[in-house]
């Protein structure tokens, strides 16, 4: 179930924290005794690979190379998925609503007018799959961590205070002439 927050009218402050939840909830706890690799060399490339994989398989789109600058992303739709367990953090996906509508249309194989209310659902699921694909590629994370329910925020005027105050990776991609960014913020 996606959780959608509208931030159009008023400035909204959002505090995010990620922790292991009880069994049966969407974010389960540590699932094995494995420990994620302490070296995070190459994680940026793994995140890029996970993003490209999701776009290739689910949208039939090949993305170009990622860059590290995000200043050109005009994002009014933000999706976030928490990672909890032996490593905690947040995976974020940000783009314009126009770009998100195009992504949803590609994903559903319909025209943009036909996607309607599905844009936020599709955008949240894409973020969910990027997070899942990323953690599947990192030693120890596939079983040692679980993913939270996707959260989708509409609007630009919000401030995000993430408790994931460790390392941060950000990648910028282009999709049909629109920019979007993928971020990974980790707990220290």
């Amino acid at each position: 179930m996606d959780q959608t927050l509208n931030a159009g009218e008023q400035r909204v402050q959002i505090h995010l924290s990620v922790r292991a939840a009880s069994p049966g909830s969407r974010a389960a706890g540590k699932a094995s005794g494995e420990t994620p690799s302490t070296s995070r060399d190459g994680w940026r490339e793994v995140l890029a690979k996970a993003t490209c994989e999701v776009f290739e398989i689910m949208l039939g789109t090949s993305l170009g190379n990622a860059t590290e600058e995000s200043s050109h992303v005009v994002a009014d739709l933000t999706a976030m998925v928490g990672i909890a367990g032996s490593l905690c953090g947040v995976v974020g996906l940000r783009t314009s609503s126009e770009s998100a509508r195009r992504m949803a249309a590609k994903m559903l194989g319909s025209d943009e007018a036909g996607v309607g209310e599905n844009v936020q659902d599709a955008f949240g699921e894409m973020c969910n799959m990027i997070a899942g694909s990323f953690k599947a590629k990192i030693a120890g994370m596939a079983d040692g961590c679980a993913l939270s329910v996707p959260t989708v925020i509409s609007g630009r005027d919000y401030a995000l205070y993430s408790l994931a105050n460790g390392e941060r990776f950000e990648l910028l991609f282009a999709f049909e002439g629109h920019s979007f960014s993928v971020t990974l913020e980790l707990h220290s």
Binding site: N118, N128, A131, G132
Partner: protein, 126 residues
């Protein structure tokens, strides 16, 4: 192979549509496609409708996919329905938990129609 009666369980309506489309692309002829947004709804449907195949997400509100399969297997008429878990959780421990809960197979998101075909068709023929 006769047209299948299929139940797709996912809290995302988009993913339900995509799974349904992938089944059609995989060449599966379907007599009926039913949808549920969580395990609890899926159990109700499984009690009321004869089914040939179930594809279920794991991470869902109210009742997750693992609990759904566990409870489904206690329904006599549903004990032999193939259930394939379709989920972003791809770790070996997750797969083992799903299979020990009663699932028949496992597909990781993102998936291709070919992967759906590889997992689904043998189960329906079996």
């Amino acid at each position: 192979m006769k047209p299948a009666r299929v139940l797709i369980v996912d809290d995302s309506s988009v993913m339900r549509k995509i799974v349904g489309r992938s089944l059609r692309q995989a060449g599966l002829e379907m007599e009926q496609v039913l949808e549920a947004s969580n395990g609890s709804e899926a159990l109700t449907i499984a009690r009321e409708h004869p089914l040939d195949l179930i594809l279920s997400d794991i991470n869902m509100p109210l009742m997750d996919g693992l609990e759904f399969v566990r409870q489904l297997r206690s329904i006599e008429a549903a004990q032999h329905i193939p259930v394939i878990m379709v989920t972003t959780e791809a770790g070996e421990a997750h797969v083992v938990r799903a299979l020990s809960s009663g699932a028949s197979g496992y597909i990781r998101k993102p998936f291709t129609p070919e992967q759906i075909k590889e997992r689904v068709i043998p189960l329906l023929r079996g």
